[in-house]
């Protein structure tokens, strides 16, 4: 009887002990992912965007925003004076560009599509691979990227410092002292935080105007948050989780694939994963995906409907959707209802910096 008891009890005890041991040594050792907190923890309801919160180190002012706007549209920040921020992040093109990828200095093309600047203030991390933790940090990158603006920070500062009007404006905003690259980045970031789409027909619907969406668009909203599984990643007021997912987008160069987030984290789980872009204003900025490989919203939805592409690291959130034609049309209609109605954002005219001859 005693031996029988132990024969029964031992397997359970061993299994429990092994489970505890393995569990303790397994996934629990994974490093915390800091961006998890940036948009709140976990999926949130869709809704209007909250006010932007500027970081304590870069409080906004009208003068700083004005200066940032001038810098944003100023091609003199590039090595040959041909490329500004707005070249690739064009307000008229949904704060992105025609794509599929962007043309930088000397006609060079990058491997990724220009992410939209509109609402980028809400993104916890910047760039498709999230290598930059803030708009201020991000703004410095393209200036010295050899295929974007092709400049150096030092040469850019020399250029800006030589412009009398800029000297006055930087002095007014940042006080006495030499112009620095941090000041340039702070001013640009301050401007970018004003590029926020707080008003769309969806936002009006979410605020209680039930006539703001057509019946088809309302169906699209239901599918977006249901059978379409879109809110699995595109959740919350920003319509993005700010996280990184491998959608199985076929690499253009299979021998040298873009490894996305993996380049930053070196975590094999991040291979081929790219940041979730916001859906706001998506209707205004085709083509889609990080490499611009889907030309239209319709083809993009077909891509998702297939469950994405094939990739050994495909995100488990990707499953075939089995959408009907009508459901796809409803989704497209709903996504277009997210187009901004903010006139000051949708139609920002370039501000020519004083002293820049055009």
């Amino acid at each position: 009887m005693r031996r029988s008891f132990w024969l029964m009890a031992l397997p359970v005890a061993l299994l429990a002990a092994a489970a505890g041991l393995v569990w303790g040594l397994g996934d629990q050792k994974a490093q915390p992912i800091t961006e998890a907190n940036a948009l709140g923890i976990g999926p949130q309801r869709l809704g209007p965007l909250p006010p932007v919160i500027a970081p304590p180190g870069n409080p906004p002012s009208s003068a700083k925003i004005r200066l940032g706007k001038e810098l944003y549209f100023d091609p003199r920040l590039s090595a040959d004076g041909s490329v500004s921020c707005a070249t690739c992040h064009n307000p008229a093109l949904g704060w992105s560009d025609e794509g599929p990828t962007s043309k930088g200095i000397h006609g060079q093309f990058g491997g990724r599509r220009a992410p939209p600047v509109s609402n980028a203030a809400y993104a916890p991390l910047q760039f498709w691979d999230g290598r930059s933790p803030s708009l201020e940090d991000q703004a410095k990158g393209p200036i010295q990227n050899p295929i974007e603006m092709g400049n150096t920070h030092e040469a850019m500062i020399q250029t800006v410092s030589a412009i009398a009007v800029y000297q006055e404006e930087f002095k007014a905003v940042f006080g006495e002292g030499p112009i620095t690259v941090d000041q340039v980045a702070d001013a640009i970031a301050a401007f970018e935080r004003t590029v926020v789409t707080t008003d769309s027909r969806f936002d009006r619907y979410a605020r209680g105007d039930h006539g703001a969406l057509t019946p088809l668009e309302r169906e699209g909203l239901e599918i977006f948050n249901g059978k379409g599984h879109c809110t699995g990643c595109h959740w919350g007021p920003y319509f993005s989780d700010g996280r990184f997912h491998n959608l199985g987008v076929p690499p253009k160069d299979p021998k040298n694939p873009d490894l996305g987030r993996y380049v930053v984290t070196k975590d094999p789980a991040d291979k081929g994963a790219f940041k979730t872009p916001t859906v706001r204003d998506a209707g205004r900025r085709p083509p889609y995906l990080h490499d611009g490989s889907e030309k239209t919203l319709e083809s993009l939805i077909d891509f998702y409907d297939r469950g994405g592409g094939k990739d050994p690291n495909l995100d488990p959130l990707m499953v075939p959707l089995r959408l009907t034609k009508h459901e796809k049309a409803a989704l497209v209609a709903f996504i277009k209802s997210l187009d901004s109605l903010n006139p000051e954002v949708a139609d920002v005219k370039p501000v020519t910096p004083r002293g820049l001859a055009r």
Binding site: S4, P11, A16, D27, I41, G42, R45, E222, K227, D315
Partner: protein, 419 residues
Amino acid sequence: MKKTLIVLFAGATVLLALAQSALAIPAFARKHGFNCNMCHAGFPKLNDWGQRFRDNGYQVPGQQGKEKSVFEAGIPLAIRTTAGYSLYDGGGQTAGGFHLYGLDLLAAGVLHKNISFLFVYTPRIDEPAADYTGPGNGDNPAQLAAIESANIVFSNVVRDKLNLRVGRFEPGFQMMSAKRSYYLLQPFEIYQFAGSRNGFDFSANHIGIEATGRFKPGLKYALGYINGTGANPDNNKWNDVYLALAKTFGPGEGQTAGQRIGLFGYLGWQPTDLIGGVVSPGGDINGFANKTYYRIGGNVSLNLKSFNLNGLAFRAVDDMAFNELDPAVDYKFWGGIVQLDWRGLPNDRLVGSVMYNWVDPPDYDAARQIRAVSGLVRYYLGSWYAVNVALHLEVTHREIGVAPRVKDNLFTILIDFDF
């Protein structure tokens, strides 16, 4: 008179079967701001995304550790209730009326990264006896009070490959989930069938521990060690074991996309003598003369556009000790289910389904043979955040036995409310 009693007994059996509970957990939708069809192909059936969510311990697939726990997200409570009208016709006589068919109180959520829980309590529902004159002493609950589920899930013990579920849970050998079936009245007949002295219920939740996991490409397993009786405390120190394997072809989980085949086997022991045994302080009884029974079968789930064809069949053998009719031989039977589901209207607002059940007992027990054809239509009134109402119409024609063959029909229209 005899015929009348048979009809009434069958009717009572059907109505008691209404107590079968079903799962859909709006607490998750409430937490995430999703609507029901994020996880369901029309609740309570899971779609592929929802299946992965469940497999991942009620965490968004691949996002474990990046969501609120129950301590941050609010009270994770949900209620599901079904009420309506049913009409039972057996041998030309009818019985029926309005019923509250079921009430589930659910709580579920994430306690900590990769630690989650599910708790389902079904309170006793006492029906007014006006429309019921069946067997018994007037004690006529439409649903018995029970803790249907109470389990903790340890997910990603080994990432994707090993998850552990401990407590009372729906075991993985039920490759067609009775808890998440569209059918609210018609059970999976084969699940509830066994030799006359075998108390094993294939459809029941069980107490024990289960390991599950998945391997690329598309291979899943469930390995369990459970008490098998569903009893608490247990009446048998010999526990049961099972193994289920499923392979999915193509993207998806075989729920609404991808094609899936599965195999499962179950080996159990039940005592045939309880007299004279020791009783533990917890009330467990040391039963004697344990005899074996086993189930072995397969499952196929095929998807084409908005259609899902799902079938399951198994062979069952209960030791001769469970066989009252012919104690000299093992009690052998087999049976299965074939179900064709269709989803229509945007966001799967409309669901239709037909189902065929069959059970073939041994010839000497042909009176228990079952053939049943069922159909249903469910229309979901809305797809709001964390609440849904379905109008449900279900019919079944069933034939029991061979000679005589007793035929009955059940028609039901009800409201399925989940919030």
